[in-house]
């Protein structure tokens, strides 16, 4: 998994804000230069940063946080969901022991995706008769429910499904899934590529990682679920099965002395059970 950062800065500060930034920068710089000592230096540096940010219109902090006050983003095509050089990219693949047409058919019925992708609640067709445009409901971080619309931009039967989220999506995303014959009649190799801009930008993604969130692992688990669903029909699981109480009512560990007596007794009662082996030396 990659967290890709922009190498070239794109303006993300609004015009009015830029003017204010320049003004504040000049003020801070002036004050800082007058003030000798550490406070003065700090003010001067901060002032220079505000000046730079106001002049170029590109703020590092805003970019890390995914904030954009510049309105229409410039320098990007209208049909791009995840701008070049930004976002999180996940590449995972899995081999499923079934023919390509069957695996493709299962995925192409997009409602099925909710079955194997853990965080996808539902996928619904937007317009009757056109299954290329869909509405996705997804569980976001902290249990928030996210929704967006997406469309299939490219598809080749039994080979490829490529999609992008439509403009205005809460979480911009795009990706493709390729279906290839696995060698030696082993079924189908499914390769999934997803790019998305997580809430909070790359800083948000980094913070989430610190808390154990691993999108690549989740996608891997999703693909495993797809494989099990297609190959085995049902998902292996144990939720709802029997188990002993977590803390036994008998909280005292068994008394070892009493135990060894019980063991000796039980042993005598049951042994020998089969023909006694002849003890010879």
């Amino acid at each position: 998994m990659d967290i890709i950062r922009h190498k070239q800065q794109v303006p993300n500060v609004g015009k009015v804000e830029r003017a204010a930034s320049v003004a504040a920068g000049m003020l801070l710089l002036g004050r800082g230069l007058k003030n000798k000592g550490w406070t003065g230096t700090a003010m001067a540096l901060l002032g220079m940063e505000f000046l730079r940010r106001g002049i170029t219109g590109a703020c590092h902090t805003y970019q890390a946080l995914g904030i954009n006050t510049a309105g229409a983003r410039s320098g990007e095509g209208a049909s791009v969901s995840v701008p070049h050089g930004t976002g999180i990219r996940i590449d995972e693949s899995i081999t499923i022991n079934r023919p390509r047409a069957e695996v493709y058919g299962f995925w192409r019925n997009l409602a099925n995706v909710a079955e194997f992708m853990e965080y996808v609640e539902s996928v619904q067709t937007l317009n009757e008769g056109d299954d290329r445009k869909t509405r996705w409901a997804v569980k976001g971080p902290a249990g928030k429910c996210l929704e967006w619309d997406a469309e299939i931009v490219n598809e080749k039967e039994n080979e490829l499904i490529a999609w992008r989220s439509l403009d205005g999506s809460e979480v911009a995303n795009a990706g493709s899934v390729h279906f290839k014959d696995a060698p030696g009649g082993r079924g189908t190799e499914v390769s999934l590529e997803i790019m998305y801009t997580p809430p909070g930008g790359s800083f948000g993604a980094f913070a989430a990682k610190l808390f154990g969130d691993d999108p690549a692992a989740r996608i891997r688990a999703d693909l495993k679920r797809l494989k099990a669903r297609i190959e085995a029909g049902v998902l292996a699981g144990t939720s709802g099965q029997s188990a002993g109480p977590k803390a036994s009512g008998d909280d005292e560990k068994p008394n070892h002395h009493a135990y060894s007596d019980a063991v000796a007794k039980a042993s005598e009662e049951s042994f020998p059970a089969s023909d006694a082996p002849a003890f010879t030396h």
């Binding site: 891997r220 709802g240 188990a243 135990y259």
Partner: protein, 387 residues
Amino acid sequence: MKAVCWYGKKDVRIENVPEPKLLTKRDAIVKTSLTAICGSDLHLFHGLIPSMEPGDILGHEFIGEVVEVGTEVPHLKKGDRVVVPFCIACGNCFFCQNGMTALCDNSNPNAAMAEKLYGSSGAGLFGYSHMFGGYAGGQAQYVRVPFADAGPIKVPDSVSDEQALFLSDIFPTGYMAAENCDIQQGDVIAVWGCGPVGQFAIRSAFLLGAERVIAIDNVDMRLCLAQKGGAEPLNYDLPDFDERLRTATGGRGPDACIDAVGLEAHGTAIDAIYDYAKMAVKLETDRTHALRQAIYACRKGGTVSIPGVYGGLVDKFPLGVAFNKGLTLKMGQTDVHRYLSPLLQLVENGKIDPSFVITHRLALEKGAEGYNIFDNAEGCIKVVLRP
């Protein structure tokens, strides 16, 4: 219902637990008539297997009667008597379809956990920690059997519970170990470990055409039982054990060696002491004393077959010896499913009576005592529990 539950190192208790229910359409519920404690259960008992939780139901060897079936289990119905493989297999993945059911892709819901340790996950197992699926085990009055259309085999009335029970694990395990030796005419096979798996490996080796089998252990009772099966006993505590083994094979060394001991090998030689010491400070997880001996003893170009369970990383492994002698190492969990039918036939035809290993019969309620009895290898070979 009553079940044997794990609560910590050497802490096993009989608890009242809810009866299992069908969870998928490929499930069945089996009412256990007989169940056993396995040598690998002792690793759980000794607290050596991670990811156990208090309350987990133990046990992976069981036979019983079907009391409920899911809608997609066509070949089983209520009342059928079945024995169930200890590894759970979906029947449809690449591995299942190629006979490697112990490596099933789809039966471990906690595959990610096993992958952290092992890179890839094999099949889920009954009653053997959450890393292997967290399935409730068979030392209970009722057991939920997943993928019941791919696992259990029906047992004819002519075969008793005690004769069929060991098809679940130890008989196929011993048989696969012997089969992995690729036994040729005239071969001499040496078996380290005369516990139940070793006992079955010995008899299987003969069934597969071995000329002689040398049985290695230090417990008299186990060596005697091995001898009853036609093997030549050799006590590894005797001085000059290596020379004795070499002499017994005309100076060649055994053609194939079976390590039916696994990660808790005993021994008093310097490398064994080293293993104990390293394990105590958690620098090593497995003791490979028996495996080292097998590698040293095996003849050039021979095979070392390893049914004994290993879990972690080992130290001082004689890879140079294995390389220079051109040894083949074959190992792994048992692909029980492909052995069920042929081995059941051997039992039906009277070629082998697997119940010979049983030394202790206890009620399920005495399961905790059963673990303690089995832990003391001196007096015991196999404990079966009747619910």
